[in-house]
Symmetry: C3
Subunit: 340 residues, 3 copies
């Protein structure tokens, strides 16, 4: 853990100090559970009630709430964004001294920057290139000719297949798999014949991919994850998909083959997206939706049905199976009424 | 495999023997496919028809069905619970002699009980503490300062990040990941800024977590899995979630950030649970539901629509898009009728 | 990469050459992005417009489109199937020279064919049998007494528990787990008691299993995946399930315990299938369906609701909760009308 004075933090995140700027901040906390040395943030007046009693060393808030702070304050326009920057300062990502653990298995033809760290039991195959400042956690496997740009961070037990590239500063969490074969088969009349997947995976800069997620290699062209994309755990990105800049997907989203997703989209958890469609920029999709057609206009989209007690749901869901018939009967009634 | 006489089993599970208590039981089986030396159970009269012809050495059943047994019987109140206890006796969890495999990479500062077993290619980082009788399967990675209490059992290729704790007798299956970063980002107007996740994960006693599941570390406070929780495969527990004692979740459930789930809940497979809500004790949720609001009363809840042939479903689902309009037209008809 | 003349490819896949059969093919491509040396395919007249300008060395197409080809053509009945076969010729699966990497940890009692390749940091436990031509990627763990038949291909970081068998030519991708315990517990009045899972997993020939997928071991009898089954990523096959020959499942499908799925089924992504039911042969299920009852007739089945803008969806979904009531009111209106 690092430590900063409040004034130092203000300078780093571009804010103004109210009160004692020399107080020393060593941790972050929630405003309810804050202790000495911690900084916390509030982003709405809803939490202002905690300001009176908080034990935090300092708080991050907007100018309009500043008057209510009883402890030193860091005044910014976007408290949560300032908080995010401060977490990075106080809790920097763990990075051991550069070097290659003696148990790692490295092919002679691999090029590894001197400033990189290669953990225990890592396997690096032929022709791999590892950039400056890269961290490869224990048990990771990097396949032939893959490339990791500067400051890539792979947590333990990540698998990268051959011929994939990962851009600067990208982070991948454990048990995720980059570059497995896309799911491509053709039935020849008797059985499914595998279509060998000859594209790669190209991941941009500042991407983060959670644990147990998969990005499949392309059938012919690369699967592409653009800069700044953030994927949660258990995500599936199928072959030939392109995910646009700064798009964010919550847990369990599945995107089927060759679909193109725009920039700055927000995809809710456990949403399924059909193959071979296009979703434009700035689309929001709520959790557990099924996207079965292109979405050509920015905006918010949903499917699914609401939770209910099982008894009521059972009745309604039974009616769902009669819905077309019910609609027809309503039209019939309207017709009859008109005749009257 | 172990072996017991029926009388010994009766004593261990607290049941009564009918017939020859000296018969030797070496395996379990289903009543239809049982062979000599095996014990099986029936828990309802529906299966009583198999009693006449079963080749099992013995059967576990309730007093009311006991008269129909043609082979030695173990009479108990809860045949399936007795069967569960017997599976543990006849098929004890595999545990090699204590020791550390020569290929394991162990930091000098780690404290490992003499009675623990550390498998091949395991990596144990600085400050880790491993309790008595722990089993760590091949390829597991245990991050800095994590603690595994007595008799924890990690199957092969489990990843535990730094600063996590796992309680006594808990079991985690392969490719699961404990303590990956919660999915926390804040948009600063240009891009998503990572909120470093500074909480840990705290897993209680007698917990079981299936394969390819993830329990993320907390954003600020720990993510908590209480005693006796059972999670199936492909589960996602997000940052700051708390899962109450003895709650059970089937495959693919996703629980979003900071949600609190009560005790003794049963969550059906592939259910999604929204962030920042509370679900009370003793709630049952059927498979593939979307829980988008708090559930404050015990009981059974559901969402989703029923399977149908695609042709019929397509008609009904098209009507779903007109449902509000249909409802309004029904109200209009009612109004018109009244006027008449 | 390999290379073939067009005439050689025609002979191998059983097609006819139109134009120069001596042109040399070294890669595959899509027709829009093809370059010299590449072969591509078109399977419908929709793509015929690209034939005029393609830079491909040759194209695969049906006799009826052959006249429009400006470059050498391979004429076949099923262009996509021919293309699949050609991808295997041009991009054969990577296989190093047979041998055991010096870092692998192999139990003395394991039997490993001389023609097999065992990668870096692989762990092979007691009694395992590895057949001819098997490839085991880095970091894989093969549990006690499991058997891999000839030409099985395990990508990096696959976990196979004890007592499982995998048939000839089957492929498993990274981070997948074969043979973890089925999810079986019985409540004894106080807590959940584990039912030890004593069955195994039996996987047939020519099966492919994607990344991050799980096939659990049986509670009593084996879990069975028959020949030719293709499973995508993030699949869950629970204990005691049987999946029939040549059935194919897209990403994220979950099949609950003891369910039997027929042959030649196609299960859409993120579909959930209930436990203890039977699905007959030749069933198609569209994406994100919930199969809550047996499907006894071949055909296509669906559930779920369609994507809509969130505002409209919210109104319709609120009405879903009144659906039974709406239906009753329609009936009431019909009754009233009749009386009139």
């Amino acid at each position: 853990m690092s430590s900063y004075t409040l004034a130092e933090l203000a300078e780093k995140v571009g804010g103004k100090v109210a009160g004692n700027g020399d107080c020393v901040i060593t941790s972050v906390a929630s405003i309810e559970n804050a202790t000495a040395g911690s900084i916390c943030f509030i982003y709405s007046s809803k939490f202002a009630k905690y300001l009176a009693d908080t034990k935090a060393e300092a708080v991050i808030l907007t100018a309009e709430l500043a008057a209510e702070a009883k402890v030193p304050a860091l005044i910014v326009d976007k408290p949560r964004a300032a908080y995010a920057h401060i977490t990075a300062l106080l809790y920097p990502q763990y990075k051991p001294e550069p070097g290659i653990h003696s148990s790692a298995v490295i092919d002679d033809s691999a090029q590894i920057a001197d400033s990189a760290y290669i953990g225990a039991n890592v396997v690096i195959e032929a022709g791999v290139r590892i950039g400056d400042g890269v961290y490869i956690g224990p048990g990771c496997i990097i396949g032939r000719k893959s490339e990791l740009a500067a400051d890539v961070y792979l947590h333990a037990n990540v698998t990268v297949y051959y011929g994939c590239s990962i851009g600067e500063n990208s982070i991948i969490h454990s048990a995720s798999v980059i570059g497995a074969d896309g799911f491509g088969f053709e039935h020849d009349g008797q059985e499914w014949v595998k279509i060998h997947q000859v594209g790669g995976v190209c991941i941009g800069k500042n991407v983060e991919i959670g644990a147990c997620s998969t990005v499949d290699r392309g059938a012919v062209s690369d699967t592409i994850i653009e800069d700044g994309v953030k994927l949660d755990n258990h995500i599936q990105i199928a072959h030939g998909v392109k995910v646009g800049e700064n798009t964010i997907m919550s847990n369990g989203v599945g995107v089927a083959g060759s679909t193109i997703i725009g920039k700055n989209c927000m995809i809710g958890g456990m949403t399924g997206i059909k193959d071979n469609i296009e979703i434009t920029d700035n689309v929001i999709i709520t959790a557990m939706s099924l996207v079965s057609k292109p979405l050509t206009k920015p905006g918010s989209y949903s499917s699914n049905t609401p939770i209910d007690d099982t008894r009521t749901w059972r009745k309604n869901t039974a009616r769902f199976r009669q819905l077309d018939e019910i609609a027809r009967r309503v039209m019939q009634l309207e017709k009859t009424n008109k005749k009257d």
